[in-house]
């Protein structure tokens, strides 16, 4: 039974609490509207409203979750149609929300982590005069992200897809007066748009092929469609996923996106938005399962990115950029996971969920550190903070253990199965596995580097730094996330709970084997990486200025020349083309118009000499005219 047939005919209309699904979106949307339109009047209580809106959504999500688990597993896909969005000719797109096990995972992640980060931001942004606006944007983001995962068709998904792009743009560029922030925001949006192009064209192909863009309609048609078309759709969807999830080749924006406030990096650029690509592939599992080339491409992209991001993460001295590299790498694992097909969809999603917790925790920790260090980011100027920030360092360390995959922390339970599944995927799958394992070691190295440089070793602070522990509003979310970092992985994977839960949507994945040889090799590599990192950055002195480093280090610092490539291939030629066209438009296209006018004018000036004032000359013209007339008459008669 193919995934596509599995999926069809299992949809139920919304009943009971599912009618309130639209509240999920409406609450944060309303929050955003009030905060953004309300102006200064809402300054005093705006942030509270923002928090309340997301918490409300979380409550709804949680109640939906419980309502769902109380239903039998084959009737957990519920669709709530709100109204007719577009209906032209034979083509209609209803505005409809779909709640199924896959969606509910995301709903919980988004509203849950989202709530924590909102709470964190109350403290983090306390002294920012534009805090209200910040919360408005955050609420907007939550709403858009929820639309993305709730959508029942690709068009509505696209609405959310670009909506989160907008929120990301607004939040990256939140410190608008900093030109670097404005540039980074613009870059993020434009690179994302390139990816969106893929999704957009995929939607067009779906419409042409299936006459509909609803999930069910598309999936129902998969078995009747040529693999060429499906591969095309799959590759286009992958392009979309690459843009949103910062996968090679559209990875370049994520590092710059760290210009945004740290809670944004935690929520959008680590936990939720950037994982949308994973969601897209998993959601389109029916298509990818029938499109082998596209699926392979997904796995390759994931594999390339996971090592790519890790290499960059190892070289950055900016704590947030180092974490951003790590995010790319971890999403690479997820993409690899979903790139393995039915066996891997659930694994990718589970790593996504656990990553959402520990990476958010890491970023919030980094934010707390920044907060303590007067907004500095250079880890070479940190050191020894463990004593000054006990809670932050503890939560950070727990998240650290989770990400490098030490059992029994979350990462171990969710990353290892992906490596394992890669090895078991047959063909050249072992290559993914090897790269995944090596990168696991690399992950341990760079994470150890971050921890060592920040919390251990001597103080290398600048003179005006007075580190202190963060306020409660900031530490409590960190603690909660740390708890998730510790236990979520086990909770999801032991007994194959999550894969089971997701099976009606993405197919049944094999239960992972945590006692295989691969696991031990991976753990060995992790220990080597961590040990080497500790050796270099804790046992030896960290220079205040970065040493020259080898060619690989230099390249990694320049994010492996991704920006340079973009600049050489797209920006420069684009600028020349633009300049050339401006010239063309003025001189050639418009020049032709003005030239014609000038030509006629010149002709006129010349012709006026004919009118020379001499009557006899006029008479000669008349005679000439008579000759012309005679000639015309005679020529015709012949």
């Amino acid at each position: 039974m193919t995934l596509a047939t599995l999926l069809s005919a299992q949809v139920s209309p919304a009943t009971g609490s599912f009618h309130y699904a639209s509240l999920l979106v409406l609450l944060p949307l309303l929050g955003a509207a009030v905060l953004l339109l309300g102006g200064r009047r809402t300054n005093t209580w705006g942030h509270l409203l923002g928090v309340a809106a997301v918490l409300g959504s979380f409550v709804v999500a949680a109640s939906l979750f419980f309502a769902m688990v109380s239903r039998p597993s084959e009737s957990r896909s519920i669709v709530e149609t709100l109204y007719s969005g577009i209906s032209v000719g034979g083509f209609s797109i209803p505005i409809a929300f779909r709640i199924d096990p896959l969606t509910i995972c995301f709903l919980l992640l988004i509203t849950g982590v989202g709530s924590l980060i909102h709470i964190y931001s109350v403290g983090y942004m306390e002294h920012d005069p534009n805090r209200r606006r910040f919360f408005g944007y955050l609420n907007l983001f939550i709403a858009a992200m929820l639309v993305l995962v709730l959508a029942d068709n690709y068009a509505l998904l696209y609405v959310g897809w670009e909506g989160v792009g907008l929120a990301s743009y607004l939040l990256i560029g939140f410190y608008q007066e900093r030109p670097s922030a404005a540039t980074a925001a613009k870059k993020a949006f434009i690179v994302n748009r390139v990816g969106d192009l893929g999704l957009f064209i995929a939607i067009m192909v779906m419409f042409v092929t299936f006459g509909t863009v609803s999930f069910d309609g598309v999936f129902a048609g998969v078995s009747h469609t040529s693999s060429t078309t499906l591969n095309a759709i799959g590759l286009l969807l992958l392009l979309g996923a690459c843009g949103k999830s910062a996968q090679v080749p559209l990875q370049s924006w994520l590092l710059d996106a760290m210009e945004g406030p740290t809670p944004v990096s935690a929520l959008i650029h680590a936990a939720t938005m950037v994982t949308a690509g994973v969601y897209l592939v998993a959601r389109s599992g029916a298509i990818f399962s029938a499109a082998s080339i596209a699926l392979t491409a997904v796995a390759i992209v994931g594999t390339v990115t996971l090592i790519f991001g890790a290499v960059i993460g190892s070289a950055m001295d900016d704590i947030k950029k180092a974490l951003a590299g790590s995010t790319m790498s971890q999403i690479g694992y997820m993409i690899l996971g979903v790139g393995l097909g039915t066996k891997g969809y659930a694994l990718g999603i589970s790593h996504l969920l656990s990553h959402g917790f520990f990476k958010a925790g890491l970023f919030l920790g980094a934010g707390a550190v920044m907060h303590a260090m007067s907004d500095r980011l250079d880890m070479r100027r940190f050191g020894g903070l463990r004593k000054f920030m006990p809670i932050t360092s503890t939560t950070f360390l727990l998240a650290y253990l989770a990400i490098i995959g030490i059992p029994p922390f979350s990462g171990f339970f969710t990353k290892d199965p992906i490596i394992d599944a890669a090895y078991n995927s047959g063909g050249y799958g072992w290559i993914y596995g090897v790269v995944g394992q090596v990168t696991a070691g690399l992950t341990a190295f760079y994470m150890t580097r971050i921890v060592a440089m920040t919390f251990f070793g001597p103080k290398r602070w600048e003179e005006d730094a007075h580190p202190h522990e963060a306020p409660k509003s900031m530490t409590i979310p960190q603690i909660i996330l740390a708890v998730g970092s510790v236990g979520l992985g086990g909770l999801l994977m032991v007994g194959n709970r999550l894969p089971h839960f997701l099976a009606p949507i993405v197919g049944e994945a094999e239960a992972p084997n945590y006692l295989s040889v691969n696991t031990f090799v991976t753990l060995g590599l992790v220990l080597i990486g961590a040990g080497y990192g500790w050796y270099v950055y804790a046992r030896n002195e960290v220079p205040l200025l970065a040493p020259a480093g080898g060619p690989l280090t230099v390249a990694a610092r320049k994010s492996l020349y991704g920006d340079a490539l973009n600049e050489a291939v797209f920006m420069r030629p684009g600028q020349y083309l633009t300049r050339l066209l401006v010239f063309t438009d003025n001189r050639i296209v418009d020049g032709a118009v003005n030239g014609t006018a000038a030509l006629v004018g010149g002709l006129s000036t010349r012709a006026r000499k004919w009118q020379n004032g001499f009557a006899r000359s006029y008479a000669l013209s008349m005679l000439g005219g008579a000759v012309v007339i005679a000639a015309a008459l005679i020529l015709v008669r012949r």
Binding site: R608, K609, Q611, N612, G613, F614, A615, R616, A619, L620, L623
Partner: protein, 99 residues
């Protein structure tokens, strides 16, 4: 007699008149050339009248003579006035209006 000869003569006279208008500067002479053209037409009328055996052509000739006389009256008046103003009867001197 062959009327065609007269018509050819008329054509020659008309051509002489035309050329005269084109090459002579003096307004009076130019005017006389125009009269020559009119009279060439008259000759043609009369010749054709003879050819076709109708009287119309001959009657027309009289009309034309009257009209030509009127033209003389008006023309001379204008030429004389211009001559008085400019002390010149040359057509080429009157070219303030141009371009």
């Amino acid at each position: 007699m062959n009327p065609t000869d007269y018509v050819i003569l008329a054509a020659i006279l008309f051509t002489i008149g035309t050329v005269g208008v084109l090459i002579r500067r003096n307004a009076i002479v130019v005017f006389m050339c125009v009269e020559l053209m009119l009279n060439a037409a008259n000759l043609a009328f009369v010749a054709f009248a003879r050819q076709s055996g109708t009287l119309d052509g001959q009657a027309i000739a009289f009309f034309v003579m009257v009209v030509a006389a009127c033209e003389v009256v008006v023309g001379l008046a204008i030429i004389v006035t211009v001559f008085r103003s400019r002390r010149s009867a040359s057509l080429d001197d009157a070219n303030l209006l141009r371009n």
